[in-house]
């Protein structure tokens, strides 16, 4: 049977928008209720048989979850990523979405993982239960509104670690001159958008080290 | 032979066996290290290990049979040492021949098997089932070798064999093929690398030794020293003429133990059925050919 071009198939789905297309990558945005039809279409018609992953992104600002289905085709050597947005829901009515387990068997694990990490229940998925964090029975940890650091501060008795040998070192003037927070904020370059800011921060760090070296003599 | 001589023999034979055995263990670990381009353990390491194991404060036991198993293992070998003639002390050794000795060597493995069985750990049981299968495998060539030697020297008592060899040439000269088969069987008996399936650390967590802690583990280390010593001295007295004095016997025993050890550390482990297939094929064939010459 002759090969039907992929665009034609994709356009069949209503409410679809091909946002990005390359030889090996196609990104598609589709609304929530027509995603299963898309998957069925590309699986049936266009040899996209391998669902390699389902990922979830927590857009807490617009109170939505974004589910991304990555489907790979061995013949065309091309990956389709279907992005869709579902309502984030709240404590009372948790987020729900339909499961694609009937189309792709591996979906069972991905959905179970997302259920554990984000709290999204997939209707029709075989095992909606704990997956890896068997000991954890708190809030789904990957949600943005869960503050890990606060949890750590609260559960683990955080005692400052200043053993005796460090005491002597600092007594003789050694030790860290710059507080970890400063370094983190100062030397923290990865969220700096421009080169210039980055160079400035590096210089500050260098100066701080010289000060420390100074003490050493 | 008077009571004093008897008491001396009863005490010193196992003691000598223990000391020489520990030196053999050291030699074994040194050879292993040298082959892997390492320095290897310090001189008294086996002694340290054993003392530390016996010095452990807490030990766990799974029941009376677990204790009796270790006692049988160590006791069986002490009995075997007493039956093994050593220059100057072979009063009691005359009482039992080489067949009795080969049976004495089976008692410790049965004792250990009982002890490990009581530990109720499947790793141990799998280890023991492999150990007994390996015993089945290496005992056939070993018995053939013993048969050939006993038939050649026309007597089953080891003292008779040693005297025969002192007068005529050594066993290895008259029965070269049998000696080689004996070495092959010795390789299996010592339970080292190529035929070490039953202490496979990766698969069954050191097999029988999985639940042995403290003095139980110490008992097994002592048993290992006895095992090396018995194998060495038995082979020496069967084929290398057994020394008139310790000075001649010990180098032979050490050489006999060193040979399989150096072969051992260059081989991976065989599966259980391959152990049987190999040990029933080559050494048995060699032994039968040499028997054909002797009989």
């Amino acid at each position: 049977m002759n090969k039907v071009p992929i665009d034609e198939i994709l356009n069949k789905v209503n409410g679809i928008k091909i946002t990005h297309k390359r030889k090996t990558r196609i990104r598609v945005d589709v609304d929530a209720d027509s995603l299963p039809t898309l998957l069925e279409l590309i699986k049936g018609r266009a040899s996209y048989i391998h669902l390699s992953a389902i990922t979830c992104v927590d857009w807490i600002a617009d109170n939505q979850f974004e589910l991304v289905y990555h489907v790979w085709s061995y013949e065309e050597k091309c990956l389709i990523s279907a992005h869709t947005r579902i309502d984030r829901g709240s404590e009372s009515n948790p987020a729900k979405y339909v499961s694609v387990y009937d189309l792709f068997k591996p979906a069972d694990f991905f959905e179970r993982d997302i259920f554990e990490m984000y709290g999204v229940t997939f209707i029709g998925s075989p095992r909606m239960e704990k997956f890896i964090l068997t000991e954890w029975n708190g809030v789904p940890p990957m949600l943005k509104d869960f503050d890990a650091e606060a949890y750590v501060q609260e559960t683990f008795k955080w005692t400052d670690y200043n053993p005796d040998w460090l005491q002597e070192l600092t007594d003789q003037g050694g030790g860290i001159a710059v507080k970890p927070e400063d370094i983190r904020t100062a030397g923290n370059t990865h969220n700096m958008s421009t080169h210039r800011e980055r160079d400035k921060a590096k210089a500050a760090a260098v100066k701080a080290n010289e000060k420390m070296q100074g003490w050493k003599q | 032979m008077n009571a004093l001589h008897l008491m001396a023999e009863l005490i010193f034979m196992p003691l000598i066996a223990f000391i020489v055995g520990m030196m053999m263990v050291l030699m074994m670990r040194k050879i292993a290290a040298r082959l892997q381009r390492r320095i290897g353990p310090p001189f008294f390491q086996p002694l340290y290990d054993i003392v530390k194991l016996y010095g452990k404060d807490t030990q766990i036991s799974h029941g009376l049979i677990h204790d009796i198993g270790i006692i049988m293992a160590v006791g069986g070998y002490i009995g075997a040492e007493i039956l093994l003639p050593v220059p100057g002390m072979e009063g009691i050794a005359a009482k039992g021949g080489v067949i009795t000795l080969s049976y004495f060597l089976m008692i410790p493995s049965l004792g250990m098997a009982l002890g490990v069985g009581q530990c109720a750990n499947p790793n141990g049981s799998i280890g023991i089932s492999r150990a007994l299968t390996a015993m089945l495998a290496y005992d056939i060539p070993f018995i053939l070798v013993v048969f050939g030697a006993a038939w050649h020297y026309q007597s089953t008592s080891l003292i008779g064999m040693i005297e025969y060899q002192q007068m005529h040439q050594w066993g290895i000269v008259e029965m070269p093929l049998l000696a080689i088969a004996g070495l092959f069987a010795l390789q299996g008996m010592l339970g080292k690398q190529p035929f070490e399936i039953y202490i496979a650390p990766a698969e069954i967590a050191t097999g029988p030794m999985v639940e042995m802690s403290g003095k139980y583990m110490g008992g097994l280390f002592v048993m290992q020293t006895f095992q090396l010593y018995t194998a060495g001295v038995l082979y020496a007295s069967l084929f290398l003429g057994g020394g008139t004095s310790f000075l001649t016997l010990l180098p032979k025993a050490f050489l006999v133990v060193a040979l399989p050890m150096s072969i051992a550390f260059m081989f991976p482990r065989y599966k259980t059925e391959d152990v049987i297939r190999i040990l029933w094929k080559w050494p048995v064939m060699l032994a039968l050919i040499s028997l054909a010459f002797i009989l």
Partner: protein, 231 residues
């Protein structure tokens, strides 16, 4: 019914005991069996320590497979909550005198996973740790240095009492149990009966019992070994 508890350190009366004890602690320092529980990424540093370049066997240290035979428990890398349960079980299955060496800074104070919800931060809250080898995967030299330090501690344990941290687990069992229960919940229990062991080797002190051990007794039915009975 609080049982009258003995003092922590039992004095050995006969003179020979010291000579004998010194010899045993000398041998203990010279021969250590190491069980490295590769919880995290630090385990990769151990093979080089054992093989030809650094050769741990020179120090008399041999790798062993099961906790029953091991003396040293090497915790290499971050310890997630789930793994901590198994680590505690392994630790309790080991026979004392036993030593714990925490490799990598994750065991010291949580390391780079310090703000993760799933990892245990300080190992010594859950079991007495002898030597820490910091470093986000310390090099083999550091591991060898740590092991040497442990051997020295054992060697002159009589003077500085640095080698018998394992007694602390029995002496202050309630503290450790408390921390464990805080993490795993109140019905946390392990098959090994630590209290009975403490009684047997009379290592119990006032601090062995407390609020948490009472909690333990409430819901743990201690596994009593079957006694061999004739009738």
């Amino acid at each position: 019914m609080k049982k009258e508890l003995k003092i922590i350190q039992k004095e050995r009366t006969n003179p020979l005991a010291h000579v004998f004890d010194d010899f045993i602690s000398f041998c203990q320092s010279k021969s250590l069996f190491m069980l490295h529980y590769c919880t995290g990424c630090g385990a990769i540093e151990l093979p080089p320590a054992m093989t030809s370049r650094f050769d741990m066997e020179r120090l008399g240290i041999q790798p062993m497979v099961t906790p029953r035979q091991a003396d040293i428990l090497l915790i290499t890398g971050y310890v997630s909550i789930k793994t901590l349960k198994r680590v505690i079980l392994t630790y309790e299955q080991m026979q004392s005198p036993k030593y714990v060496i925490g490799i990598c800074s994750c065991t010291v104070n949580g390391g780079m996973y310090w703000q993760s919800y799933a990892t245990a931060k300080k190992l010594n809250e859950y079991m007495p740790v002898d030597v820490y080898i910091a470093g986000c995967m310390p090099r083999p030299e550091a591991v060898m240095e740590g092991l040497q330090r442990l051997k020295d501690n054992i060697r002159n344990d009589k003077k500085e009492h640095k080698g018998s941290a394992w007694k602390d687990y029995f002496n202050r069992y309630d503290y450790y149990l408390g921390n464990q229960q805080a993490l795993f919940g109140d019905d946390w229990q392990t098959p090994t009966d630590i209290i009975a062991e403490a009684k047997l080797y009379d290592l119990e002190t006032e601090e062995t019992y407390g609020k948490h051990t009472k909690l333990l007794e409430k819901h743990q039915t201690p596994l009593l070994p079957q006694e061999m009975r004739i009738k």
